[in-house]
């Protein structure tokens, strides 16, 4: 018989949500008419998208010379931001797939938003290689097909691996995200009227919630989670190999894959906190995104921050221990050279500030977490900047050293990418249920006649 013993189902008891109907009511009301605040944010995001497109079109028109990229620093803000957004994406899959397989009791409320974040972050990241290659009309050369002389791409190149990894990641995370929303879109359909109903009717694929649908759906969901779990670990490893496979001092280390994956999860959870705090407030989802959820995410940040800090220190130690002059020089330059400020921002934001999370009082304070999450976002962007720019600016031969300074166009595209991401995320909060309705119901005690009789 169905048991009301929620802890055995691995759920976090939520005393504020009593009935299935409460979940529908609280989540679907978010899909109503957007308020003034939403329109303000949306206008800002749309303006930022304008900035993004203007900067990009200007660069397409003028050529890559309008960026600060030049020898020896051929990778700059674009690749930094690419890695940053790919990293952001990772926590979404972590929360939706890995924590699902581990039956972590706190993921239900947060996973829809973080999964949406994953999809939009990969969408943002995917634009950066196109921006970075300059002649974007040749972007289809990334597709592995033979050229006019029937030569195929070199599959030994990590850049080709990256194309496969990012394409797969985008496809699988988008499919996983969409599949998970289908039952909730059906709930939205049954709630909506008029044109909205038609819209949800189509995108919910006519879901009815029959036993047959649920049976195969829940199985398919497990298998997709099982596929997404190794995928998420592989994607950032492959991204790290874009660097680690090259012999640039500061890049060529075996620690890169785990170090990048930990950093990715760290930055991603940071952004989930940054997004979830205002979302919870605006949409009145306090009963769903509770302090317990935030504390659990803070613990994830604590762990990954410790791994990242350990990786930073290991890198410095190994540079010294290798007794390789270029390696030592690269790391000396990193900490005390031209870009010292970027390195110290990275160390402070990713290593020192998150140490505050070791205090329970900080972990359970939403505003403190919000502030720390901003530091994490900044620090993790600078981590990639430090790795890419300082290493390239200071390779083997002293006469080949050089400096890089981002141009206005690059900054426009960087800022614009946040707006582009925000644009999609804001649309998401209005069109799709931002909290997984069906999965939240698993945390709610099922309505039982027998229990009612026992009470009477």
């Amino acid at each position: 018989m169905a048991t009301a013993d929620l802890t055995s189902r691995g759920a976090l008891p939520n005393p504020d949500v009593q009935k299935y109907e409460d979940v529908n009511r609280d989540v679907l009301k978010v899909l109503g008419r957007p308020g003034k605040g939403w329109w303000v944010l949306f206008s800002i995001a749309a303006a930022g998208v304008g900035l993004f497109l203007t900067s990009w079109f200007y660069q397409i028109y003028k050529g890559l010379g309008v960026s600060g990229l030049n020898a020896p620093v051929g990778w700059g803000v674009y690749i930094t931001t690419f890695v940053f957004w790919v990293g952001i994406a990772h926590s979404g899959t972590l929360i939706s797939a890995i924590l699902f397989l581990f039956r972590a009791p706190w993921r239900q409320a947060i996973y829809r938003a973080s999964e949406a974040m994953t999809v939009f972050a990969v969408m943002t990241a995917g634009l950066f290689p196109l921006i970075h290659v300059g002649r974007v009309w040749h972007a289809y050369w990334l597709v592995p097909y033979p050229n006019s002389r029937f030569l195929w791409p070199n599959f030994r190149s990590p850049l080709v691996w990256d194309v496969f990894a990012i394409t797969t990641y985008f496809t699988v995370s988008a499919v996983f995200f969409y599949l998970g929303t289908i039952p909730d879109l059906a709930a939205a359909r049954d709630h909506a009227r008029g044109l909205r109903k038609k819209f949800y009717q189509i995108i919910s694929l006519g879901w009815r919630g029959t036993d047959r649908e649920w049976h195969h759906f829940s199985k398919a969901y497990i298998y997709l989670a099982a596929l997404a779990t190794p995928l998420v670990l592989s994607v950032h490893s492959v991204v790290s190999w874009d660097f680690a496979m090259a012999i640039v001092p500061g890049w060529h280390t075996t620690i890169f894959a785990p170090y990048f994956v930990a950093g990715a999860i760290f930055s991603g959870v940071g952004l989930v906190i940054t997004l979830a705090v205002p979302m919870r407030k605006f949409f009145g989802l306090e009963d769903y995104l509770t302090v317990k959820h935030f504390e659990a995410m803070a613990k994830l940040c604590m762990l990954t921050s410790a791994i990242v800090l350990y990786a930073y220190l290991t890198e410095f130690f190994l540079a010294w221990y290798s007794a390789e002059p270029p390696e030592r020089g690269s790391f000396w330059n990193r900490a005390f050279g031209h870009y010292w400020w970027a390195t110290w921002i990275m160390l402070t934001c990713n290593g020192l500030v998150p140490l505050m999370l070791w205090f329970k009082r900080v972990r359970t304070s939403i505003s403190a977490l919000f502030a720390i999450s901003i530091f994490i976002n900044i620090g993790m962007w600078f981590e990639r900047y430090v790795i890419i720019v300082t290493s390239l600016s200071h390779e083997y031969e002293p006469w080949a050293w050089g400096l890089y300074r981002p141009s206005v166009v690059e900054m426009g595209i960087l800022i614009g990418s946040f707006a582009w991401f925000g644009f999609w995320f804001l649309l998401f909060t209005r069109l799709l249920p931002p909290v997984a309705i069906a999965e939240m119901k698993e945390v709610v005690p099922p309505p039982l006649r027998r229990r009612k009789e026992a009470v009477q």
């Binding site: 599959f155 030994r156 496969f164 496809t171 879901w207 649908e213 069906a438």
Partner: protein, 181 residues
């Protein structure tokens, strides 16, 4: 919207239940009485209902996942190996068939094909997308209630109604026509 499939000479009953346990018992009773083509509706993947009420066991979706994953891995290896041998040019002193490097491509293809064929498997088995008219349905089933839809020939309609009423549905709807769902 496409028209719903009719079941000739049948009547349809839609019972809406407030409680999970009554739904499970109703399903068990229907199965005991020999009804096969009935459907249960739930607002969440309720495993007690699926496993106990309807005795659903393995889903063939897993075969799709495995087949897709294996196809993907094989495709990844075959594609990289074939293209390398198509123009066997040594670069960087590496062997023409640099298997360790191709593992990355094969792995990504395995995941991609596996995921996509899982979705195909789900769609085939669950009958999605289903754009037929929503006849045997109640909007409460995506909210807070469970439902059972069963069709019966006119002669046995009375028995079915009695059986369902016994489990105290909050609503019992009787359609003059039965539908395949």
């Amino acid at each position: 919207m496409i028209g719903a499939k009719r079941r000739q000479g049948h009547r349809g009953f839609f019972a809406l239940f407030e409680h999970l346990d009554s739904t499970i018992e109703a399903c068990k009773a229907l199965r005991g009485a020999g009804y096969k083509g009935f459907r249960a509706y739930a607002p969440l993947p309720e495993h007690d209902l699926l496993e106990e009420g309807l005795a659903l066991k393995h889903s063939p979706v897993r075969v799709f996942t495995l087949a897709g994953g294996l196809t993907g891995a094989a495709t990844g290896f075959a594609f990289t190996a074939w293209t390398s041998m198509d123009w066997p040019l040594v670069t960087g002193g590496k062997p023409i068939l640099s298997m360790p490097a191709y593992v990355v491509i094969a792995f990504e293809c395995a995941i991609l094909f596996g995921a996509l064929s899982t979705v195909i498997g789900l769609f085939i088995n669950a009958g999605l997308p289903n754009f037929r008219r929503m006849v045997a349905y109640h909007p409460e089933c995506s909210n807070g209630s469970f439902g059972v839809y069963v069709t019966a020939p006119h002669a046995r309609a009375e028995t079915v109604r009695e059986l369902l009423t016994g489990f105290e549905p909050s609503e019992l709807r009787e359609d003059p026509e039965g539908f395949d769902v």
